[in-house]
């Protein structure tokens, strides 16, 4: 599903906003193509989370405040089937493990599916839940009857994701997916996301403060500042715009930092933002001379 947002505006004060009040989103236009692994970056309070919460109608689109189309769902149409849309656009919030609530892992993961697809039989739901739990790399027989609260932080987060992907969304939106995980947990989790993106969920959108993560995993990115998008492009294009990155309170990913330092010394390295690309380029350049 393609995501197409045009001139979106939003104010937490409602449509009758006072003159002094700023728009949290002030004319945001963005298209995310089906199949992209997309990063949304920007300072705290720049409108990133407010923006993604519009994508499944969690924050309703107000009349005259822009257009949002997700696949064939037109969010400005009052008759749009929000429930169906929400099953297709899965949303994972910051620290999703805090949203676990059921007595067992199985029940927790089943909750969304049951809600979205009440027509499914108990047997079918069980099947879907099992698949989802296995997809996130957890041992179904060993964990299904456990309380989610007995699990480790990384496992809890996986259970939370399983609950979202059980409904087979086509778009997965994650707000700060790796925050609070230790290095190994973070690595495992990002590998999981990459795998899900390859085999299961077509489009992945992440909101993150971690520039290295965005540089490594995302194809494209948008920079938010004061409720507006000030840059949209491939990750390479976005990080190449140094002025925009620093103006927005962001930082260069390590690979870009190294490229810049080398360029200052007259060593221009032509490669993308991913570590493997940088390694290849440097090896080629330096290796030959050793």
């Amino acid at each position: 599903m393609r995501i197409e947002v045009k001139d979106l505006r939003f104010s937490y004060g409602g449509t009758k906003k006072r003159k002094t009040e700023k728009y949290a989103l002030d004319g945001v236009s963005l298209t995310i193509e089906e199949g992209e692994f997309f990063g949304i970056i920007g300072q705290t309070g720049s409108g990133k989370s407010t923006f993604v919460q519009h994508l499944n109608g969690l924050i309703p689109l107000k009349e005259g405040m822009g257009e949002i189309k997700v696949g064939n769902y037109d969010l400005s149409d009052k008759r749009v089937n929000l429930k169906e849309l929400r099953s297709k656009v899965g949303m994972v919030f910051q620290y999703p493990e805090y949203q676990l609530f059921a007595e067992t892992v199985e029940e927790d993961v089943a909750f969304g599916v049951k809600n979205f697809f009440p027509e499914k039989s108990a047997e079918e739901i069980k099947d879907v839940v099992k698949t989802a739990i296995e997809l996130v790399g957890l041992d179904y027989p060993a964990l299904k009857d456990k309380s989610p609260f007995e699990l480790s932080g990384g496992q809890k987060r996986r259970v939370a994701i399983a609950g979202v992907i059980a409904s087979r969304p086509e778009v997965l939106v994650l707000d700060e997916p790796a925050a609070g995980l230790d290095p190994q947990g973070k690595k495992d989790f990002l590998e999981l996301l990459e795998r899900l993106h390859k085999d299961f969920v077509r489009t992945v959108v992440i909101v993150s403060h971690d520039m290295d993560l965005v540089a490594e995993y995302c194809d494209g990115a948008a920079v938010f500042k004061d409720g507006k998008i000030i840059k949209r492009g491939t990750t390479e294009e976005v990080f190449a715009d140094r002025e925009c990155i620093f103006k927005s309170g962001l930082d260069l990913p390590v690979v870009e930092y190294l490229k810049e330092k080398l360029a200052e010394k007259g060593e221009k390295i032509a490669c993308g933002t991913k570590i493997s690309e940088f390694l290849d380029a440097v090896t080629q350049r330096w290796g030959g001379k050793t």
Partner: protein, 274 residues
């Protein structure tokens, strides 16, 4: 004499598994110590033991002349060891910055006049003087965390513990908080114990300790911790980002020196080796 000392400390939440086990360690005044370790290794439990929010089941914690053995000392320990947690939104309580900072000193009975001085000192220390009458909710994440630190400083602690205090901040906010903490450590001599998952943050500590399964698994200068790269990974650590790139380049036959930890070092080394 160490400013903080833990002697054979064990603590369990459920009386079955020890969250911290037979832990001994001491910190000198003015030191900057980073605490690393995977999730669930006991880092946050340790922070709470250090400031007497939790009391050891076995062993004892001594802060200056006060010991966790003595119930009457607990209050004194809490005054001397301030903790800043992860989420700034959970730590700010008042609707105006100065009231928020006054909350701690008021609670411990600091005279009115002195409270004003302490607010001024604390705000200056974190570079937030001009926000004295602002509303905390209007501040950025980094600014909120600086106010949380000021709130702790207003209690004139001898030790400042940061429990993943930068985890929720954007890059600018992180830099801003780290700079303030470094300055407090260098200029005011505040002892800092920083718990973190960011390996880069551990690099400017005087000393690093690594916890694993509630036990002290390793201790040393940052270079020492990361020099045994295999062991570091086994302990749930990760090499700093630039170190991983450097190692990989060496593996591929690029001639640069080994043991690189920071991106600055790597950039310099690459520029120099060409």
């Amino acid at each position: 004499m160490p400013i903080l000392k833990a002697e054979n400390v064990s603590f369990s939440y459920d009386k079955k598994i020890n969250a911290v086990e037979n832990f001994s360690f001491s910190v000198e005044k003015g030191e900057y110590v980073a605490v690393l370790g995977r999730n669930g290794s006991g880092k946050s439990t340790l922070a709470k033991l250090f400031n007497a929010l939790l009391i050891p089941d076995k062993g004892k914690i001594t802060v200056g002349e006060f010991s966790s053995d003595d119930k009457k000392s607990l209050f004194e320990i809490r005054k001397r060891v301030g903790v800043v947690f992860q989420n700034p939104d959970n730590q700010l309580i008042a609707s105006i910055v100065e009231d928020d900072i006054a909350f701690g000193p008021e609670n411990v009975g600091v005279p009115r006049k002195e409270i004003g001085e302490r607010i001024e000192f604390a705000l200056k220390a974190v570079g937030m003087e001009e926000f004295r009458r602002s509303s905390p909710e209007r501040l950025s994440g980094g600014q909120k965390q600086r106010i949380a630190i000021a709130g702790v400083l207003a209690l004139t602690p001898e030790i400042l513990i940061l429990d993943e205090s930068t985890a929720m901040l954007d890059p600018a906010g992180r830099k801003e908080v780290l700079k303030v903490v470094e300055k407090l450590n260098e200029e005011q001599g505040v002892t800092v114990i920083a718990i973190t998952h960011y390996m880069e943050e551990a690099l400017f500590a005087d000393r690093v300790i690594v916890l694993d399964g509630g036990k002290l698994a390793k201790e040393g200068r940052p270079e020492e911790i990361f020099s045994d790269r295999e062991n570091a990974v086994k302990l749930g650590l990760e090499l700093p980002f630039a170190a991983r790139i450097a190692d990989e380049l060496i593996k591929r036959g690029v001639k640069i020196k080994s043991g690189i930890l920071t991106k600055e070092e790597l950039a310099e080394e690459l520029c120099g080796s060409k």
